[in-house]
Amino acid sequence: MTTRNFNYTGRLFIPQECIDGRLSKMSSGPPALEIDFDWTFAPYLDAISDDAHVYVDADVDMSFMRFEYGNFGNPVAPEDVLLSELDSWTSANFKIRIVKDGTLLAASRKHTVTLALPDTKSRRSLIIPEYRDLGERPWMLEVHDIMEYPKLVFNEKWWEKAAHSGYPLQEDEETMATIMPSVLEGMLNWLLIHQKHDAHQWHQDQSWKGSWIRFAKSLADTDAPQLDKSGEYESMEIVSNWITSVVANYSESKGLTSRLVSMIPGGE
């Protein structure tokens, strides 16, 4: 069944193209959330009165901050844009609201920025990178049910060294070819086994969860296993085998091992 969203409220939508948001960190302590607006990407927003107020609402888990950016006609960042009250200092979700006399005139959808990938421009991600102190662990997949996006978290020591060398990890083909099959496997394990939703149930989901499943189904040779009426899979082995085959097909489609081999100097 297709889900349609109707908007009877008169509230206008602020598209992603109008918002250039990023996190920046000057020193230890909270990062700054810096946002620039360019309303010209959505001419219909001209209907909004210049003296309406622009708010940026940032949140992480159970923490929230509101920033006042002045008037719609000339939005100006407040003096203090540090995310000091948020529960995470490496990433944040934010939403833009334009309000006049308590009436919500326009709103964006929720965006996520991280220190690792601060730019919100034109991004439609399945996963976003981040970096953090992970001890000696090189990377990990971070995913739970209330995230805006799952995160591929790199060890900050590795991330920073790679960035300073001029070869940032997220652009490092060898690193990503090595990691991504495990990321895909971890995501499908979480969605299909930990969450115990079958691919059919996730398929209609409009969030990143549905996007991952649609991506996996596009790679699969066989139909995804379904839960029976009692909410159980016929066999966990069938689910695991399906995930394994999807990961194999992903690796095949990208020629991952061949690419890794070709990167070794002197190799054929």
Partner: protein, 259 residues
């Protein structure tokens, strides 16, 4: 008063075993786990809780924990994801969170269908997933009041209206409130709740404020109505009086009680 110690995972499991096996029969709380290096360790940075401290309501609890953390330089960011810390605080004051009744038993709150944590009021429920852990404070006897108080500690009434109940009671109203950051961080909304349901004379909530069959109850205010109103209005920027004046007629009963 000694430095507060927190359970390790083994200690949390032992605490859960106690909840499962002997708490209902009125068994003594296993406070000794917090003195045993096999089950616990000192928390860093050091902070101190008075064992003899009594809490008449959730606001006193939230305020006390906030003050103790502030004195030790502990920020919210340092503790909101620490399941074992919050389980340890409940264990430390267990006889207040789960008192022994006249018949010698305890009423142990349980979520039998929750596969992750059957005792989320005592041990915070971890969000399922890989990687960084986050906690669902909405059902936890200590983390919930702490979060609500911390978000409202600079407000005039410090969220007394939603923190006025006993620390061992946890109605739907608290859960609906504590679980929504858009509620606990919106002081205008907290003030609105106070305007509607707070009995100033007796310093308590008006009877029936959370009765789900009664029009204009608090659960509907913070869930359905708020979700509907936020499509067209911005309660963060509206004074409580303005929101109050524009509430639908189902709230007239509560308004009339104030006049």
């Amino acid at each position: 008063m000694s430095q507060f110690r927190i359970l390790n995972d083994r200690g949390v499991d032992a605490f859960r075993d106690f909840l499962e096996e002997s708490a209902r029969e009125g068994g003594q709380s296993p406070i000794h786990l917090l003195d045993d290096n096999y089950f616990s360790k000192p928390f860093h940075p050091a902070f101190y809780l008075l064992p003899s401290k009594n809490f008449d309501n959730k606001q006193e609890l939230g305020r006390y924990i906030c003050e103790c953390f502030d004195n030790a330089g502990i920020s919210r960011q340092m503790v909101v994801r620490d399941r074992n810390l919050w389980a340890s605080i409940v264990l430390f004051y267990f006889n207040q969170f789960c008192p022994i009744r006249d018949d010698g038993t305890r009423k142990v709150a349980m979520e039998a269908k929750d596969k992750v944590e059957r005792y989320p009021k005592y041990i915070p429920r971890l969000n399922l997933g890989f990687g960084e852990e986050s906690l669902r404070g909405r059902r936890h006897y200590a983390l919930g009041p702490y979060l609500i108080f911390d978000h409202n500690k600079d407000a005039e009434y410090q969220a007394d209206v939603v923190l006025s109940g006993a620390i061992d009671s946890w109605g739907d109203d608290v859960e609906q409130t504590a679980g929504r950051i858009e509620v606990i961080s919106n002081r205008n909304l907290i003030n609105l709740i106070r305007m509607l349901y707070w009995d100033e004379e007796n310093s308590k909530l008006s009877p029936g404020y959370s009765t789900k069959t009664r029009p204009g109850n608090i659960n509907r205010l913070v869930s359905d109505l708020r979700a509907q109103m936020k499509l067209t209005t911005d309660w963060y920027s509206m004074p409580a009086q303005e929101i109050y004046d524009n509430l639908p007629s189902e709230y007239d009963y509560w308004k009339a009680k104030k006049e």
